[in-house]
Amino acid sequence: MNAVVTFWSSHRRELAVLFGQHIVLVATATSVAVALGVPLGIFASRRPRVAAPIVAVANVVQTIPSLAMFGFLLPVPLVGGVGARAALAVLILYGLLPIVRTTIAGLRGIDASVRDAGLAMGMTAGELLRQVELPLALPSIVAGARVAAVVGVGSATIAAAIGAGGLGEYIYRGLSMVDTTVILAGAIPAALLALSVDGALLWLERQLSPRRRSRTGRGVAGVAAAVVALGLAIAIGVASRGAPGAIVVGSKNFTEQLVLGEVVAQTLERAGLPVVRRPNLGGTLICDRALLNGDIDVYVEYTGTALTAVFHRPIRADSSVVFEEVKELYARSGRTLLPPLGYNNTFAILVRGRDARALGLKTIEDAARKSTNWHAGFGYEFVERPDGYRGLATTYGLRFPEAPRVMDLTLSYRALASGQVDLIAGDATAGLIQALDLVQLEDNRHYFPPYDAAAVARAETLLRYPAARIALDRLAGRISASEMRAMNYAADVEHRDITAIAREFLDRIP
């Protein structure tokens, strides 16, 4: 806990920014969900035949896991892509269900005689709605907004996966660095925020119940309306925001990518170019779509990954053949693969150093003989990718007593070190290999294709900023495997600031 407090005080300004982003994100999404959900609920409550399908659709939307939802929305124009806009779209969709449902319930719960009295007194449909139905349904609607906001605080942490910022940044960063302090630094304020939002809206709900409605209640309702209006204004602002006049540098969500993203960003800045950083995007597919949509302009990809996971081509063994093929494939979709950075980040099949020494394990072949009573743990991508687990098992005849456990890539290093699993597939350049005394087994049958790291950029951006191309070309062949591992070690094990690591590296190269 002390460590968390220390972390907070040393990251005060960043914490404030992320906290602010989180609140703005949730408040905006909830406001828009209210602005859309209440009219939708009113409409549905008038037409029971429409209500059932609307609620059914909203229900289905609610059951889609949020990360999957971000994935679905990536290719959608206007709302898709990465950044705050897509995150807002997802959070709004999640908020709609509770609000629509409570609006319908609130309106349906009104005593028939009350509605009758209003009609018989000569209220028009609008007067009945404004003076009788909405005020009576209001506590119920606020209850829905409360659920939407609390769910939103939680979902917004996941929005960091698509670069929307917020407290999820710390959670993802912590996961990448396998550092519980950083995870807690994000998780604790997020939980506190959820609790206080819940409490505040519960209080509002009570203030608005008919019996307690008073002048203060009305004042509170006014404040709530102002918050909704502000949220709407922000949403419109975000939605209408044009392309920023800067190069957007993306990265995937693990340490090496964060370091490389920073290296690329600083390289461009040193060439005097305006840069926006969008680190921590949730995986290869998200980065690829973001690059295609123009949400980011450049990120570092690995040739083997691009070949198999992005373009679905069969694996090749020769690294220059793979590079040329991938470059060609990228060119077809208006993207330029820049020269390799110099190292090959192949998958590393890892075991505990203790086991390797005791059993004399050197190659994956050696491990295959022992694997029948071992447990394996793999990242999500490794299980699914064509150059992943399935082919590896076939090539080496690996057999485990049970299906490999699927876990976060960065967590799997810890899982291996602590004995929860016996074999994992990590990155060859991971700083944790050394830190946790893990041993990489040799791929003696050459199963894994080459994974040469290289920046890939939108051709359009390179044309617009010729200086960017020159600057990025300077990185060609500059990063060796040991250089990369050292930088990863500095970030993961020594917890050094990634900005400083990248700066020191760039100072070293001519």
């Binding site: 005689s113 009758d116 009295a117 009609l119 018989a120 007194m121 000569g122 028009t124 409605r213």
Partner: protein, 268 residues
């Protein structure tokens, strides 16, 4: 001779193909008159009221208010000149007593001082101390007080017509008798054209200048209380006989009265 305040001309109302709620219903209610309609549940009483303020329109025939067919009335205008009192009262739970009474004046955009004055006047009229009750919430009132507020609300813009749907049905007998007396007192002052529907013949006798009996959508009789009490029609007698007998009558030695004891006979 001026037009009747409310007139039903051969009105038929059909809920679905099989069920005639009202069948060839004809009735004229004169201005300032109280007509009490009696009938068992489902006899079409509420439908009758809803035809007057155009919450419903007749299938055939016509309903005239102040000489104009309800089809020609603009429904909102029509409803704002007709007060409506329901058995469930239908007070708005999110408004104080004063706000409830002020609903129609506010819809009519009266100036605030005029509304305040009118609310105080109406609360006094229905026997509620304005100081004490104006700021109360509906759920802080007894059943009788709530019904008084309902009457005040219906009278707010001084509408010429008042419709009352089982207005005192949910109250205990003592409170009911009290409110009957109140109603007669208020009516003597405001002289509204009133249609009251009720399933209770006793209430009809207590309130009506004329009493109508509705049976299966048809009007059996509509006449002065004395005439109705003397009717030999079996459909009328059934309702009269449903009134509770008072056992004390038996103590007289001179034998039995002819048909139980109809308190109707006690009325002047």
């Amino acid at each position: 001779m001026p037009d009747p305040a409310i007139e039903f001309r051969d009105v038929t109302f059909v809920r679905d193909v099989t069920q005639r709620v009202l069948d060839g219903f004809t009735l004229a209610v004169e201005s300032g008159e109280v007509v009490a309609m009696v009938g068992r549940s489902g006899a079409g009483k509420t439908t009758l009221l809803r035809l007057v303020n155009r919450l419903l329109l007749p299938r055939t025939g016509s309903v005239l208010v102040a000489g104009r067919d309800t089809r020609e009335w603009e429904p909102i205008r029509l409803r704002r000149r007709i007060g409506y009192v329901l058995q469930e009262v239908g007070l708005f739970p999110h408004m104080t007593v004063a706000r409830n009474v002020a609903v129609v004046p506010r819809l009519e955009r009266w100036p605030a001082e005029r509304i305040d004055g009118r609310v105080a006047e109406l609360l006094e009229l229905v026997g509620l101390n304005a100081q004490q009750f104006a700021r109360r919430w509906p759920d802080e009132l007894s059943g009788g007080q709530r019904q008084r507020v309902g009457v005040a609300r219906a009278l707010a813009v001084d509408p010429p017509v008042l419709l009352m749907d089982e207005p005192f049905g949910a109250l205990d007998p003592l409170t009911r008798a009290e409110l009957h007396a109140e109603f007669r007192r208020i009516q003597a002052r405001v002289r509204k054209t009133v249609i009251i529907v009720t399933h209770d013949m006793g209430e009809a006798f207590a309130l009506g200048d004329r009493i109508g009996v509705l049976d299966e959508g048809r009007l059996v009789i509509c006449d002065r209380p004395g005439v109705v009490a003397a009717s030999a029609d079996v459909r009328v007698r059934r309702l009269l006989d449903a009134l509770p007998a008072i056992p004390v009558v038996r103590t007289r030695a001179e034998g039995q009265t002819d048909s139980g004891s109809a308190p109707a006979g006690d009325r002047p």
